[in-house]
Amino acid sequence: MSDLIRNIFRLIIFILVQAFVLNKIPHLHRFIVPYLYYLFILWLPFSTPRFALLAIGFVTGLALDYFTMTPGLHTAACVLIAYVRPFIINVLTPKEFTEFNYREPSPRGMGWAPYTVYVLILTLLHHTYLVFLEWLDFGTFLSFLIKVISTTAISMLLILTVELLFPRRLKYRTNTV
């Protein structure tokens, strides 16, 4: 399966799961909204051009926004993490390798610790920006802080669970395409 088709399928599945499972389950507390859909952006191949990353982030966010009736909210957060992603990957790359052995970020390819840091930074960024935009027209500073921390924690838990449950079959990057 080519990267393009695989990622289109992934986008559809992530958006549907977010809109119809995670947004529908009764929340433990009103602060905690389990977010998972942006994992799609984190899983995009390393070779994605930076402009394409931004455009994909925009489309991903907008797709979810039209389901949740908040046009622009998730879009803004997704574009932000799509912009920051390459910088984080650069920092976390082991310096001795000039090329990646794997096509996309994954715990097996990057190692668990760097991958967790990568996910954590972008998750925190995504949620902070998202909750900040919500906070602009509603809420107190305390609820803002609690919401950022609790949603980040639950998202990390979800992402790590997904990584353990669905280990992706990764192809080694070779010269023979």
């Binding site: 549907l16 119809f20 947004n23 529908k24 009764p26 929340h27 009103r30 909204v33 930076r50 402009f51 931004l54 455009a55 982030g57 925009f58 966010g61 039209y66 389901f67 949740t68 009736m69 908040t70 046009p71 622009g72 909210l73 879009t75 803004a76 574009v79 932000l80 912009y83 935009l133 919500e134 027209d137 509603f138 809420g139």
Partner: protein
């Protein structure tokens, strides 16, 4: 000029990032103010069809409650039928209106249309319902929405061809006038985004005797809702020390978690009322200017 192009090429990604951010934020802030977003009607046609598929499954989980509600409604309607009443006074006779249809359309004030909820949320601060009737079926903005029990649910804020979005009472920007059934005093219903079972009624002054369990109904001063529809019962009475008003917690009569069938109510005289209001404002303004 060449430097400008070089600059753009060098910072192309950053500039496009700013452009995307700008578009997103523009959409967000204009939408919050006017509840009409770019391409929303096209998008809600698509999401509407997907939501309908999801809803087909979801329906089965609420069938029992919905059935009970409909039965209850039927019961109250059957009780109103004329054969339930016995006329003891023989000097009067029962005359049945011979016009089978409502020929006096001009005097009809509210028109009810049935609709089905295809998407619903209670978990965020801004909750919307999506219903499977749209502009093609005559749904317009500002129509009132009540559930199959006749309890207030929300107001239509946006329509596409076959679907419309309803701003639920559980929305921090929702403002609906409601009154106490007992005394008729009216106030505004708001939601503080705390719990989907309670909304707040503000603007009832403290000299009115309010008790827990009192019924709150839609106000007769509302342009959208017909008067006397159930909103909820008072669960908690707080008095706001800063003002002369109560801060009443109202337990909603509609169970927002399990809304399936709704009625969309059109106020046929709404446009006339709004026009009168606007004209009055204009007239008063003009008079002020001329007397000055």
């Amino acid at each position: 000029m060449r430097n400008i192009f070089l600059f753009i090429r060098r910072y192309f990604v950053f500039i496009s990032f700013l452009v995307f951010q700008f578009i997103a934020l523009w959409m967000l802030f204009t939408y919050n103010r006017f509840h009409t977003a770019a391409y929303l009607s096209v998008a809600s046609e698509v999401t509407g069809h997907i939501n309908t598929q999801y809803d087909k499954v979801d329906d089965y989980f609420h069938l029992r409650e919905e059935n009970k509600r409909v039965h209850h409604m039927n019961d109250s309607l059957l009780n109103l039928l004329h054969f339930n009443f016995y006329i003891s006074d023989t000097s009067k006779k029962l005359v049945i209106d011979s016009t089978k249809y409502d020929t006096l359309v001009k005097f009809r004030r509210y028109l009810w249309r049935e609709a089905k909820v295809v998407n619903n949320s209670v978990a965020s601060e801004k909750n919307y319902l999506q219903i499977n009737r749209g502009a093609a079926q005559g749904i317009k903005e500002n129509m009132a929405v009540v559930n199959s029990d006749g309890a207030a649910v929300g107001v239509v804020v946006n329509t596409s061809e076959n679907f419309s979005e309803v701003m639920s009472l559980l929305h921090i920007q929702s403002r609906v006038t409601a009154s106490l059934k007992k005394t008729g005093d009216y106030g505004t219903l708001e939601w503080d985004a705390q719990s989907p079972y309670f909304i707040t009624l503000r603007g009832i002054s403290k000299n009115i005797d309010v008790k827990r369990g009192d019924t709150v109904v839609t106000s007769m001063y509302s342009y959208n809702f017909p008067p006397g529809l159930m909103v909820g019962t008072i669960a908690n009475i707080n008095s706001d020390p800063a003002t002369g008003f109560y801060d009443l917690k109202v337990r909603t009569a509609a169970k927002f978690n399990s809304i399936q069938q709704v009625f969309v109510i059109e106020n046929l005289q709404r446009e006339e009322q709004m026009k009168l209001e606007k004209d009055t404002e204009k007239k008063i303004e003009q008079e002020k200017r001329t007397t000055r």
